[in-house]
Symmetry: C2
């Protein structure tokens, strides 16, 4: 019989007692930010639970990690502390445990309706890295930009290709995105185009939140890499394809990407995802020893992309994909990142890259869906090649358990026009 909470949770809710994802919120507009977990339609205020001395395990007993304005301190503590917190919270929220259930004053203080809270970035992100780990996405991009001779470059099969993104412009779901201005390819005899991007796109990604870091000069062993991963969020790596195409040779994406990256507010832990682990795709050629895992796992997370044009009441689904399509695993990404001695810090964000599946309907960005604007996508009668002002793009993700759903909530953002 499945674990149940004394709080009523609909079977389709993303936040049953089996999930308990971590976020940071303000219960009221004036209050200070504090950590919480999502449970049904409520947020449990962990600063109140800590103040009530209910984190009474040996590791969290005297910790101030839930009296911080972000989760960096908690995620730095590592898996034993995460397991202890999860055990404490699952017990406290269970239907059979009276401590919180029967204490009206504490319930009043610590359980805040989710509809009322303001959700903030859950961690202070020191560095944000973005990988390029879906073979389907990589192949499609290669076909579009380089043609059918050699769509996937030789290095791609040997290492998880990545670049550094911009930490300052990572924003929380619900933040509007201003259409970026910039340069694009000149037409012959003219200077480059300059103006609002004409090829604004989303990229369907997920991202790892790093737990304990590593010291500079000390790589993380591939078989310990999972212990450096606290959890996972949804991520939209907004991309201006025209700006990117003109600027990116030879040093990679810059202004085509760094105007905004949206993440979902709730970090779903690896513990909650564990029942949905699945075998990662076979890698051929076999990876070098530093990337060879004893157990190579992906997670079966269904992903959807919805677009709602300003004039529509309802969004249209444009993509259905799945995290399990990744070629390079989350742990391979992390181990590769540190093999040269590069140091990760608690709260760092590692994007997976666009997660495209094998089918046309599972392509993770408009570049692929409209084949760089050659085709048109119909959203319930409205045509799109790229995003228009007023479009709202929403990602969602979930794992279906037996009678419950482990969900990621939403990762959403609306395009607003460039300043004149």
């Amino acid at each position: 019989m499945a674990l149940k909470s004394f709080i009523e949770v609909h079977p389709d809710s993303h936040f049953p007692i089996q999930n308990l994802p971590y976020g940071v919120f303000k219960p009221q507009p004036g209050s200070s930010p504090r950590p919480g977990v999502a449970i049904g339609d409520y947020v449990l205020d962990l600063s109140e639970i800590a103040s009530a001395a209910l984190f009474n395990g040996p590791l969290l007993n005297n910790s101030d990690c839930f009296h911080q304005p972000n989760l960096n301190k908690f995620v730095s503590l590592g898996r034993p502390a995460w397991k202890e917190a999860r055990a404490t919270l699952q017990k406290l929220l269970s239907a059979t445990e009276p401590t919180l259930r029967d204490n009206a004053t504490l319930r009043e203080k610590s359980l805040v309706p989710m509809s009322r809270v303001e959700l903030l970035l859950p961690v202070q992100i020191g560095d944000y890295t973005d990988f390029f780990s879906s073979l389907h996405h990589t192949k499609n991009c290669g076909l579009i930009f380089r043609g059918p001779q050699n769509p996937v470059l030789e290095n791609w099969y040997h290492l998880p290709v990545a670049y550094h993104g911009r930490a300052s412009s990572v924003v929380i779901s619900g933040t509007d995105i201003v259409r970026p201005r910039g340069q694009a390819h000149p037409t012959p005899g003219s200077p480059p185009y300059f103006g609002p991007s004409r090829k604004l796109d989303f990229e369907l990604e997920m991202a790892t939140i790093v737990g304990p870091g590593n010291d500079l000069g000390k790589p993380v062993d591939i078989n310990n890499a999972a212990d450096h991963i606290f959890g996972v969020v949804l991520m939209n790596d907004w991309s201006a394809r025209d700006i990117q195409a003109w600027e990116y040779i030879p040093l990679g994406p810059f202004l085509g990407k760094n105007f905004g990256t949206t993440i979902s507010p709730w970090i779903v832990t690896l513990e909650a995802l564990e029942p949905f682990a699945c075998e990662a795709p076979k890698q051929d050629p076999p990876p070098l020893p530093y990337l060879t895992e004893k157990v190579s796992k992906n997670y079966d997370v269904s992903l959807e992309v919805h677009i709602k044009p300003a004039e529509h009441e309802k969004p249209s689904v444009v993509t259905r994909s799945n995290l399990k399509h990744l070629y390079w695993t989350l742990t391979q990404q992390l181990a590769h990142h540190t093999i040269n001695g590069c140091n990760l810090r608690p709260g760092d964000l590692l994007g997976t890259g666009t997660i495209s599946g094998p089918e046309q309907e599972s392509r993770g960005c408009l570049l692929e869906l409209t084949w760089n604007g050659q085709n048109t996508l119909s959203l319930n009668g409205v045509d799109r090649k790229f995003l228009e002002d007023g479009d709202e793009v929403t990602f969602t993700g979930y794992c279906k358990g037996d009678g419950y759903t482990i969900g990621f909530g939403k990762c959403s953002g609306r395009i607003i026009p460039s300043a004149p």
Copy 2:
């Protein structure tokens, strides 16, 4: 007659009263980090000057910006506060002002011999960006990797090309650099090389420290860009050429760069550099309006690179270059970075890219000096194609004034072997 301090300063010292660069230091191993300025062979402890209520101008009077463990708060205050601090400190340190000169107790507390202090990173760096703004460097790299047909790509003349680097691995001068391990190009029929980098290099750069930032979605106007620049440091963008060459297509440098970046501890302000401003090179084609400046300035800063092999007593000079060789100015870099709405934050680091001059002796990295290892460089009888374990690389930079030197001190790091 030049301004003089009551502290004796040798004419060749980098730190006369005309300079007053800002850093962060610990006066004793156990003390807390605090801001200071360099004056001759001393560091003036700004937390002590603030505690003595000597910052008595209207802007800094009640500020706690000098009671912080880094300079982020001070640099965020903007040019009027920087000018006020400079005026206060130049007066306080001048030969004719008794306040500090004749107060033995305060002198004892606030003036610490530089030989005794530990210097730390002066700012907490939110994001680190690296540009590619020297035409000579760009042309040499193009000749080496693509040949003489088209050494400089078309986009380069239209925008200051840049990529995001890694903030976590920026270290202060004097920190050892562990030789990175990683993958490099396979030989036909074999898997990629894996092991310690065989092509470890330095890159002679300078870097802007950002003052006040800008909000996401709000670009900085090119003609206001200088007010967002607090000052400049020396920077060594250590590079593993073999790792970089194999990984960088199509998303740019990653593990070939992010194992370490060294900066000098003293931030020389734009105020101190102003007497050494010079005209920037003429740009043809003319830049787009958002990159067109009313006054386009470089700074005449002489730069030197020294390498000391482990077995040598003395370093050998391998490069003499100058900041004035930059094609894209510091202000163009900053304005370009924000044109798409990307937000900068106080303390961000913007590297110039390798600063090579037009002559063979002014090339800013070994890649150019040895033409990717085709030639050998002799260091006083010891041959080098790339860096060997034990090599210590030191950059220095200075502007020669009339009877005084505005210097940057040193930016230094020694290569230590990869872990086995």
